[in-house]
C-alpha cells in the first residue's frame, strides 16, 4: 500500500462523513475576555522585545525609525535603501495578511465564447503595446506575453436570430474578460511559465496583468475588504501590498516551509486600463520603477 492507494481508498468512506464535512459548521470556542487580554499583553511584550532586538536605535531619541517593507507605515522615498522615486511620489506599503482564493472561474460555453487573440489583436484592442518601458536587469519576457484568451458573452438576441449577419453578431457580443498578462522572470524551466510553485524554485521577476473591463480574479492578493492606504506615483493612486511568502517543500513533520520570499502587489488604474503587478523576490524600488514604466 502507498499514499496514492490510501488517497483512492478514502473515496469509499461512509456517506455520512462526506455529507458532514460538506455541510457542518464548527461552533467557535469563545475565549474568556481576561484570557484574550492576557494573550494580547503577552504578544505586545514579545513584539517590543523583538523590535528592540532588531532595531535598538529606535529607542534612542533623535534617531529616525527604520521602516520595514512589511510594516504599514509609509516608507520615506528619500531613504538610501528606499526608492528612486522623485519627491512628489508618496509610497505606502500595506501588509497583506494572506492570499485569498475564491472559487475557480467558469464560463458556460452555451453563453460565452473564449477567443484566442494574438499580439496584434491585443495591441489593436488596447490601442498600444502594454509592455512596461522598464524591465529590471536580468529578466526575460515569457513566450505568452501579449497574447490572451478573451471571453465574449453572446447576448440573447443572437439565439433568437440565427440568420443574422456577421456585423449583427458582433454588435450582439460583449467582451466580459480581456485580461492580458506580461511576465518577466529570470528563468522558464522547459519553456513553461516560471516554475515558482513546484520543487521549491521560486521565480524571480514579475507579472503585469492589464484589463479594460476590469480584472476578474479567482485568486486575489489584496482583498476588497482590507483597509488599504494608497500610494501616489506620477500623480496616479496606486495600492501596494507586501507579504513575506512561505514556499515549499514543507517539512513533513513540522510543516515548516523551506523559507520565505518577498511578494509585492501593485494595483492601479491608468488611462482607462486596470493594472496589477505581482512581483516576486524584487525589491520595492524595482516595483515602483515598473509602475512608473507603465504610467508614461
Amino acid at each position: 500500500m502507498n499514499g496514492k492507494e490510501l488517497l483512492l481508498g478514502i473515496n469509499n468512506i461512509d456517506d455520512t462523513f462526506i455529507e458532514e464535512a460538506g455541510t457542518k459548521v464548527l461552533k467557535k470556542h469563545r475565549t474568556p475576555m481576561w484570557k484574550q487580554s492576557l494573550t494580547v499583553a503577552a504578544c505586545l511584550g514579545l513584539l517590543l522585545i523583538a523590535v528592540y532586538a532588531l532595531y535598538p536605535d529606535m529607542f534612542h531619541k533623535g534617531t529616525p525609525m527604520p521602516v520595514s517593507p512589511s510594516s504599514k507605515a509609509p516608507i520615506d522615498a528619500a531613504t538610501p535603501e528606499g526608492l528612486p522615486a522623485p519627491d512628489e511620489d508618496k509610497i505606502v506599503v500595506n501588509k497583506m495578511a494572506e492570499q485569498y482564493t475564491d472559487s475557480a472561474k467558469w464560463y458556460d460555453p452555451k453563453l460565452y465564447e473564449q477567443q484566442k487573440w494574438n499580439k496584434k489583436d491585443v495591441c489593436d484592442y488596447y490601442g498600444k503595446d502594454l509592455t512596461p518601458s522598464y524591465i529590471p536587469e536580468g529578466l526575460h519576457p515569457a513566450a505568452y506575453n501579449g497574447k490572451m484568451n478573451a471571453v465574449v458573452k453572446k447576448l440573447p438576441s443572437t439565439e433568437t436570430a440565427p440568420e443574422e449577419t456577421q456585423e449583427q453578431a458582433q454588435a450582439n457580443e460583449r467582451i466580459i474578460e480581456d485580461a492580458v498578462s506580461y511576465s518577466f522572470y529570470h528563468t522558464y524551466p522547459e519553456g513553461n511559465p516560471p516554475d515558482w510553485i513546484y520543487g521549491g524554485n521560486i521565480g524571480e521577476g514579475f507579472t503585469l496583468t492589464a484589463s479594460k473591463v476590469g480584472i476578474v480574479r479567482d485568486c486575489f492578493y489584496i482583498s476588497p475588504d482590507d483597509k488599504v492606504e494608497q500610494s501616489t506615483i506620477k500623480g496616479i493612486p496606486v495600492t501596494i501590498g507586501y507579504r513575506s511568502m512561505p514556499y515549499g517543500p514543507y517539512n513533513s513533520d513540522t510543516h515548516e516551509p523551506s523559507g520565505y520570499y518577498d511578494l509585492y502587489v501593485a494595483q492601479f488604474k491608468y488611462d482607462g486600463i486596470e493594472y496589477e503587478i505581482v512581483a516576486e523576490q524584487l525589491p520595492l524600488g524595482e516595483v515602483v520603477k515598473i509602475v512608473r514604466g507603465v504610467i508614461l
Binding site: 462526506i18 492570499q99 467558469w106
Partner: protein
C-alpha cells in the same frame, strides 16, 4: 428542489433529474473535480460522467445523502482521469496529499497490495473514533482535497492548528492501520 425530490425524479426516469442535480450541485461537483484535475475540460467531463453514472445507478440506488453519493462518483472518476505520471509536474496539490498519506502507511505494508474496501472499512472505524473537529479537518483535507488555508478559513481556525491536527491525526491513523492489519 430538495434531495429526495431529485432522487424521485431519477426513479421516475425523468430527465429533468439531471438538470435539477446540476442546478443544486453542479458548482460544488465542478470545484471538487477541478481541485483534483486542475483542468477545466477534464473537470467538466468528470462532472458530466458523474451525472450519467447517477442516471445509470439511481434506481436501484436510493441515496439518502445525494451530494455525498454524487461527490463520491465524481471524485472516483476524477482520480481515474488524473495523469499520475505527470501529476508531479502539473498538480502539486495531489503530490502533496499523496506524500502526506504516505506517512500513514505502516512500514510493513508498503510492499503489499491493498484492498480499497478494506481500507475504507478501517477508515470508517478510524473516523468514528475521532472528535467532530478532527474528523471534519481530516475529511476536508484528504477527501475534498482542500488546502490548509481553505480549511482554516472554512472553520475559522488558525492554519497552524489545522496543520498540527492533521499531523496528529495522521499519526493516529498509522497506529490504527497497524493495529487493524487490514491491508493484507
Amino acid at each position: 428542489m430538495d434531495d429526495q425530490s431529485i432522487v424521485q425524479l431519477f426513479w421516475q426516469r425523468d430527465q429533468s433529474a439531471i438538470e435539477e442535480t446540476e442546478i443544486r450541485y453542479g458548482v460544488r461537483l465542478h470545484q471538487l473535480a477541478m481541485g483534483i484535475l486542475r483542468n477545466y475540460e477534464d473537470a467538466e467531463e468528470s462532472v458530466n460522467d458523474t451525472y450519467l453514472k447517477a442516471w445509470d445507478t439511481i434506481p436501484p440506488q436510493k441515496p439518502i445523502f445525494l451530494y455525498a453519493y454524487l461527490a463520491k462518483i465524481c471524485r472516483f472518476i476524477s482520480f481515474g482521469k488524473l495523469d499520475w505520471k505527470n501529476a508531479k509536474k502539473r498538480n502539486a496539490k495531489i503530490v502533496e496529499l499523496t506524500a502526506e498519506l504516505e506517512l500513514c502507511v505502516p512500514s510493513q505494508y508498503v510492499e503489499t497490495d491493498s484492498d480499497s474496501e478494506a481500507i475504507a472499512h478501517a477508515l470508517n472505524d478510524f473516523l468514528k473514533s475521532l472528535s467532530v473537529e478532527k474528523r471534519l479537518i481530516f475529511v476536508r483535507r484528504y477527501w475534498y482535497a482542500d488546502s490548509i488555508s481553505d480549511i482554516s478559513k472554512r472553520y475559522g481556525i488558525g492554519e497552524s492548528k489545522v496543520k498540527t491536527t492533521l499531523y496528529r491525526t495522521r499519526n493516529k491513523l498509522k497506529t490504527h492501520l497497524e493495529k487493524e492489519g487490514v491491508v493484507l
